[in-house]
Symmetry: C2
Subunit: 309 residues, 2 copies
């Protein structure tokens, strides 16, 4: 029951000798979700000993090169390694056009299935038995999406000792697991929280790639355990951030505070800052639980029960 | 007066954690020539501390992803770093089509000039005051070129002591530097080699990327100081080499011997061989002066005078 984020690439548009362009990998309950795919992503996957064949869903935030140039190589390698099952690509509608044009030159032995968000569905993009993914519209120089990965509510676990004590039958148990209270044959009401273990917290990861600062995002990502927010610039370069439709570290931290997230990760630092710890310090003044990410960093959210209200 | 090759990427189609896809960098007399541009080439250039802005000529062997997927990122980064001067791309004619399609999505602030070889010119592609580059047609599954980089003949250096001893005038010196003998006022013929220092050896690098073994190449690359030849397979997999239109290490070595080159470099090893030193050993049995290349390896050819015949 893992929920673990690995930073594959942490640079902004220009890579450095130890920061590859943007790519994140979320491992949720043994499923891998690749988020953005900058140049060299397939090499970073090798460094992390993650088999590319295990990736079936790739989410692209926007069609700027530093977020997509690794797709061609990764998909080609998947093909050479014998992939036959389809791969799902999520992102702006133009991604399909870009990929189809390049497939003329570099054909693949498997299908690509394209998915773009529809806003009437609240940006809904993906669902399996354990997780949902929604797109979050961002404000950048081209159509850009953030993504919110959120575990579904898990079924309640019944307190085993109560089954015998109360003589619960199968039908009772099903109802209790759904959250209902129980009424004994004597007419006593036993509240659900006395019958079940505290529910599991629904873990979530919000990925906010290139964007102008937008406090309006706080509602959608409210209470996320982990928020990655780009922080291309320092506070002193806020004007530049606005002009290029990027954010400062302080703006990322302000959003983290507004949204009440658990932990803030910042990255996508401009190469103009030789030492990005300056940006991390700026963010921590506003939101102390902030980390500046490096390639290879891992953040694991433990599975925990939380007392019901 | 450098003539130095740096291996930026040495893998075959699939990268490994320490081998990036193919890219070579030749530095000849302070000019940089990039040869193939696999994914991650711009990162390898950073590792080598080579400023991408100094590259004005990129030679692409063929349009398979492991030889071109780094172009998009490298060119984008050049643009972001403010490049305005045109960049020259050499390769199969289809390269232009591929680049122009992608430029629709990822525009550049500088021009690309495309060059493809014309066979009536013997594959001539590039010339400056010190160097020529010719394409070499290879036998692969798509239009593929090797490249021969060769220094031009340098002007002879006159032996300074002879100027005074023979009372040479400017016109005499010009003729002697061109290689002519000198006749004294007394009618004695002084042969050119007594008047000049031994000429410089014309250094050369032959790059033979993906190809079926072709002994017919030996003439064009005859006597090269340095030959890179792909060696995707071991001798035991010669059938596979033939089917995929690649070469074995022994075939690469046989061509090196036929062509009488100075040193053979092999690479592009299939990932099926956990330890490519096996392939190097096979090649050395046929051509002892063989090296298996790794990312970051450098080979420098010194500038030397050779006695005239």
């Amino acid at each position: 029951m893992s929920f673990e984020l690995t930073i594959l690439g942490s640079s902004s548009a220009l890579p450095t000798s130890n920061r590859f362009p943007t790519a994140h990998l979320l491992k949720a309950d043994e499923r891998f979700f690749l988020i953005d795919c900058g140049e060299g992503t397939q090499i970073r996957l090798l460094h992390q000993k993650v088999t590319a064949a295990r990736i079936h869903h790739i989410f692209i935030s926007h069609l700027h090169g530093d977020h997509v140039f690794g797709l061609f190589g990764l998909l080609s390698s998947m093909g050479m390694m014998g992939r036959q099952v389809p791969l799902n690509l999520y992102g702006p509608a133009k991604l399909k056009e870009l990929m189809e044009q390049n497939l003329q030159y570099f054909p693949l032995p498997f299908e690509l299935h394209y998915h773009s968000p529809e806003w009437r569905d609240g940006g809904f993009l993906y669902e399996d038995e354990k997780l949902t993914v929604n797109a979050i519209p961002l404000k950048h120089r081209t159509r850009t999406y953030g993504y919110l990965f959120r575990e579904k509510k898990k079924q309640l676990n019944i307190r085993k000792e109560q089954i015998q004590a109360l003589g619960l039958g199968i039908a009772d148990i099903v109802r209790i697991k759904r959250g209902e209270d129980f009424v004994t044959s004597g007419g006593d009401l036993i509240p659900n929280h006395e019958l079940t273990l505290p529910p599991y917290h629904q873990r979530s990861y919000a990925y906010i790639s290139d964007t102008l600062y937008d406090p309006g995002l706080s509602e959608q990502i409210s209470g996320s355990d982990l928020l990655f927010h780009e922080a291309t610039f320092a506070g002193s370069d806020e004007k530049l951030a606005r002009e290029t439709m990027h954010s400062t570290a302080m703006q990322a931290a302000t959003l983290a505070r507004l949204a009440g997230v658990g932990r803030l990760l910042i990255g996508h630092f401009s190469t103009r800052y030789k030492d990005p710890s300056l940006l991390v310090e700026e963010a921590r003044k506003i939101f102390p639980n902030t980390d500046g990410v490096n390639d290879g960093d891992r953040y694991s959210i433990p599975l925990e029960r939380v007392p019901s209200e």
